[in-house]
Symmetry: C2
Subunit: 179 residues, 2 copies
């Protein structure tokens, strides 16, 4: 049975730097009306970089909505008209210094489908091991090198909790297991 909600009316009540806020009235499959509020976003791209010793490279940054510093794989907003793959390559370079060309697609994830339409493009890439990671790269961001097994343990202990990051690490671990 068709479960489509038909748009009856919709307006954007806030248009900001990275998000817009939409309010809509929809017709449900049973004919009733319902209210929907959601955020639109141009999309993001993120990349898991792993070296031959199975170290991964994370960034630690302060995230104002949570008022805390969290560990994430390098990521950024897809600019208007930009190919998400280019975003991932650019963000990896800007945040860690790695220059890469060959990416494996880890799919598109929908971070919280109840109230955002953001699409997050996830990639995986192999890099050469680096020893001279600037552990205090700039005032806003640290680069953290970590064996992927340790990263997985940090997911299990609740230290790593960013959605795209926990997915990418567990996806890698699952695929490695199957091979």
């Amino acid at each position: 049975m068709d479960k489509t909600e038909k748009q009856l009316n919709e307006q954007i009540i806030y248009s900001g730097k990275i998000i817009k806020l939409h309010l809509a009235t929809v017709e449900l499959p049973n004919g009733n009306e319902a209210f929907r509020e959601y955020v639109s976003h141009n999309g993001g791209a993120a990349i898991l970089a792993i070296d031959s010793k199975e170290n991964i490279y994370l960034v630690k940054q302060f995230r104002y909505p949570y008022r805390e510093e969290i560990l994430e794989i390098p990521a950024g907003k897809v600019e208007f008209g930009e190919d998400p793959k280019s975003t991932a390559i650019r963000e990896l370079s800007e945040e860690t210094g790695f220059i890469v060309h060959d990416l494996t697609e880890y799919g598109v994830i929908y971070p919280s489908p109840g109230y955002t339409n953001e699409k997050l493009y996830i990639y995986f890439t192999k890099v050469e091991e680096r020893h001279n990671i600037h552990l205090d790269a700039d005032e806003f961001l640290d680069v953290v090198k970590m064996p992927i097994e340790e990263a997985f343990d940090k997911i299990c202990s609740g230290v790593i909790k960013d959605g795209k990051t926990v997915y990418a690490i567990c996806r890698y671990m699952s695929e490695r297991c199957r091979k």
Copy 2:
């Protein structure tokens, strides 16, 4: 070095049914000012239910922000003052009919830390296999039973893309591999 962004001022410009929209001015570690826009949310809880034959139970529902039906593990919004574990148990029961008591914690995930403060509490539970799943439970939601290996293949082929769902499935696959 401390990377904290200090709140200079902040206001809520929209207060809706499930989200609020906040605009803030913050002081960066270097003393400059920056603008932050983000959504606040009371949090969600989600649960991966797996039976002795390693089938998992997903729900398929229309998500208006994406204008498409997507597959997700059972989940819902944490009500004010509610324990997320109770939310997960309630949503699993409402959406699939399974009554469970013993949950394993899969941690808290931050779905998109750039612009939302939502915390998503993820659980795992074992259930008895069910054969009489209503494949068209109601007008708004279908329950889909699927071997977890097939679900993982559907992540790799891009069919399953909900963030909490891809994490929970890959987390299970990774842990199973380590045992």
